[in-house]
Symmetry: C2
Subunit: 700 residues, 2 copies
Amino acid sequence: MTTTTEPGPLAAPAEAPVAEATSPAGQPRVAVAALHDALLGAWPQWRAAARARAAQPEFWKDESLSMDEHRERVLSQCHLMAKDPQHQSWLAFPERLGGRDAPGANLAGFEEFAIGDPSLQIKAGVQWGLFAAAILHLGTPEQQDRLLPGAMDLSVPGAFAMTETGHGSDVAAIGTTATYDPDTEEFVIHTPFRAAWKDYLGNAALHATAATVFARLVTGGVDYGVHCFYVPIRDAATGRFLPGVGGEDDGLKGGLRGVDNGRLWFDHVRVPRADLLARYGQVAADGTYTSSIDSPGRRFFTMLGALVQGRVSLDGAAGVASRIGLAIAIRYGAQRRQFASARPQDEVVLLDYATHRKRLFPRIAETYAMHYAHERLLDLFDQVFSGRGDTPEQRQDLETMAAALKATSTDFVLGTLQECREACGGAGFLTENRLTSLRADLDVYATFEGDNTVLLQLVGKRLVGDYAKAMGAQVRTGQGKARFVLDRVIDTALHRTPLRAAVQTVADAVARPAAGAWFDAGSQHELLAGRVAAKVEAVALALRPARSADPVTGQAIFDRHQVALVDAARAHADLVRWDAFTAAVDATPDAGTRTVLGWLRDVYALTVIEQDLAWFLAHGRLSTTRARAVESELDGLLRRLRPHVLDLVDAWGLGDDHLRAAIATGAERVRQDEARAYYAAERESGKAPTPEKSLKARAR
Amino acid sequence: MTTTTEPGPLAAPAEAPVAEATSPAGQPRVAVAALHDALLGAWPQWRAAARARAAQPEFWKDESLSMDEHRERVLSQCHLMAKDPQHQSWLAFPERLGGRDAPGANLAGFEEFAIGDPSLQIKAGVQWGLFAAAILHLGTPEQQDRLLPGAMDLSVPGAFAMTETGHGSDVAAIGTTATYDPDTEEFVIHTPFRAAWKDYLGNAALHATAATVFARLVTGGVDYGVHCFYVPIRDAATGRFLPGVGGEDDGLKGGLRGVDNGRLWFDHVRVPRADLLARYGQVAADGTYTSSIDSPGRRFFTMLGALVQGRVSLDGAAGVASRIGLAIAIRYGAQRRQFASARPQDEVVLLDYATHRKRLFPRIAETYAMHYAHERLLDLFDQVFSGRGDTPEQRQDLETMAAALKATSTDFVLGTLQECREACGGAGFLTENRLTSLRADLDVYATFEGDNTVLLQLVGKRLVGDYAKAMGAQVRTGQGKARFVLDRVIDTALHRTPLRAAVQTVADAVARPAAGAWFDAGSQHELLAGRVAAKVEAVALALRPARSADPVTGQAIFDRHQVALVDAARAHADLVRWDAFTAAVDATPDAGTRTVLGWLRDVYALTVIEQDLAWFLAHGRLSTTRARAVESELDGLLRRLRPHVLDLVDAWGLGDDHLRAAIATGAERVRQDEARAYYAAERESGKAPTPEKSLKARAR
């Protein structure tokens, strides 16, 4: 792991104090501080510094603001960031322009902005992760030198104008055109109809003075497909649209109200030939088009792939928000009591209810699994974008992994925040306790930067493609040994770098598991990897006839298996997380921590199995006896974890200034102590009223 | 069904126009208008009138308002309602006071308010369904005559002060006391500590001048448990708290921002003896307590049970909101196209994607199931509260059914609105398309009027209790015939009036189904009722040792089976809905409609089965072969329903003024037509650029 991007001397890590573990004697004990440090990941100081910054009031979401005020606040927060002497927001940019060429460190820090305000994360993401990143990744060095400084220091706020009202995830079908005019050596950017208006663009409603606009490049009567253009859109002094540019405010949204999303249209707007971002395609003065990538399809996907960092960072932000939600609900649940217990004058702590454990603890496990998988994703991202490991295969793996993880983690976080909010009852609904606000802001993560269903379909297609490649002409449909070999082939095919090593270790070390062994990595791997292999194989075989069919029949065949394809992709994401979690457990030096994390990994595995139990049963992977045991095994595990969950949550390093939820800071315990003292004093004074029930009992 | 409560001549039903069915020839056809009329239920004119009123702009949610402005708007909407010459909001009250003694008609109309603004529904619900209803149901006739008029005409806005910060669902444990002082013949209402502050009360932050306050009644040194008191809290002229009363604003919430929720505390506030709402318990001048209900426990639950209407109406409102969300997503999905199809120059309509059908159509089915079960619940509610069928057994059934349906429908609606929002992509996230706003407002329905987990536990306990009663000493654990008999016993026990008749019909009419018959009511009933019976039996047997155990062991045994208990309650709710749906299908006169509704019922049944498929497999109710067929059978059904879904949605009678979502009103089709015309004209003119791909193909 690279650590060449340490923050400067100003970055004194101002982390929340981490409490020491308090498990009962004789039990394994989580070494909270050490686990916390390990969870900071590959760029610990950058992540810690960003987390510390997010704990400063000037970066907090102010819930009292109107939409207009919130937008201005977030813009000024972005300016604060741009002036940050550590240049967190510049990490990804070239050293020659003041950056640090550190893409991984950049995202590690960027994700933590969600702690302050997700609107800030997204507004900053639009500026530096989309608008400036488009210049960085799609522009030539000359264009970077010329256009990046303004984007980096925010003197040119920018929009990323890709999505149109008529086309979101299907970028290839956008309607905006950029037609080359050799007479003036200009591109004419034009919106031909309403559906081709650019839409949902952060920064577009108010603040952007320029935009990176995606349009179909037409020159010499030929449509060379989607390319990106740098287009000034507003007069910086007046804030008014430049001639030929127009737009609309998207107005109120379900969340992220601090981001000024809007629409843009272009009426024959002329930009110089030099402002086609020309890394992957150039137009000569005479209109001749050239590209280093001959295939239009591959060129398109290469350009889009260069922008994968958005998906990577959303996977990270989903983890951040899950941790905030769970920390609030667990800390409250560990104090709040409700309904009489078996002990007199005492009520049951929420976490001591089986239903409460069941709704929250598996989500702690999945959040850990998400974290470890995300760290691998970040590493792969850093390898590719730092140039340390930039191969076409690695790029493809990165895109697949980012799609699989983003699509599932942004779904998970919404369910988790909702579960946390409900687990906190009416208090969870109050804005002062943060959960509803966070959930509203994270909502759109499920559909932006690629609709989750579309992304899972991409992942599924990749898996099926890999399967076909791995099997070549030898596809067999038999069961038994042939099938077992198949599993292994798939397994390897699905887990190339950086996962291969870990999977191999597990696969080599473990013999066939004994029936009934839930709690060893080998059995879990057999079940989870076997499930992916079988699901991918089933879809692959079902889709084979589509290849040789006419388009209509082909589409019909595909449609019939689309749900299964998406399902296989989800199973794959589960496996990727399980695998990363398992490797992390094995690599944990402290024995007590390793034991507890191992239980947590088991919770994750059993939860995944329980959620798809019917599949395991219907496909002979589990006997009915074993299947019926899952629930109670899981219940036992959750009980065993009960004394450790506060430690597991504390290891996330989220202090009161990160959580900012009244119910998570001990107020509940203070209230209970006061009530208890009142009743005790009343009893002692002899003035406590007699319960009617005792009276009746005495009368009998 | 009673129709004595027809609206007066002013109530011309101003329903949205209902389009006629447009299914392909040769297919069964939904008679949309007739189905629409049938769906209006037992009080069609009241429901239609309320729906028409909710379509009037003065009752719409104004998303642009600040919290303060929204609160004032909703208050003024309530005043409009109070002045409504039809007295919709007075329907439930006694005729002698201007009402109509029509509790069922009242709720049927009340539920529809959510179409205008859920804040209005809840604010009105606080005033007439909680504050005034407490006076109605817990007060004596004299108290009704004295206190109801002000509550009814809103000259006395009121809060319903039951929940405390320290105790929500566990009302029995509240800390507020009302101590009788025989010297002055007053009760002293007192909040002894912070946890006993009343909290989350609608109307309490600003508008309420009185409150129905729940407190533990203490007289003569004895605590007679929770009773309700009428307590003035604010000076109507100044809006200031009366001496001894204080409070706080709950501030911003995740939704329902038009409701001024707040906290109240009382410092030795004195109210006259006459203001104990005395229907179920009275205190004589000398302090002697009397009650018609001797058992303190039964008295407590009788008083709480009198307030069941909140839960009933939330079940209805969850249905209303589900219909709005699905109508928006289905209408948009029927127009929106994305990604190239097999036909040139055309893209695939979203509803023609298998994943899109799978995420939305089963929710249409469940929404229909919810509706039919809710109609039964309303009927039962009306029987009990109109006095037509007010027996202790009916009351208990009503409470169980309300708890089971409210807990599951308020969960369902949140998932549905989220699925709809994601199915509409970025457009779904914009406030102008309503889905995020509605979801935010409905969020708290999951935990208020009884936390859903707590409610399901109550239902589970009732089922287990019924089981124990039904079996008496004869409990057998054997399989085979004994077990089959058991199923039937349970079945009857679980489905007393008004369900018994329907269940019996089904049970009698159908012989043992042939294996593999998914699409007949008998097979489905066997699976769904058998599942309830088996789950209840399993929990009942597991809990038996708890009865004779010491408290600590008993609690531990209960805890070990709490998840299963809640799970059994959910299965019960599924069965109740399936049963109501099936009866409604059978009672549908039009053959085409009956056929399509039958398919929809099958979708509901198969969805429930698919969601719990592991249970059916692990418990030998389905073979692996049959289980593996569920997915494709369901997929086939969804395909078959595709031509009918717009009809099924149209039958809900939701016009543009009810939906108020830009994407659901045809704007998308207009945009597509424009884009298509543009491309067609371009091709015709010969000016269309050649795609690079074709160029390359030609070059080869």
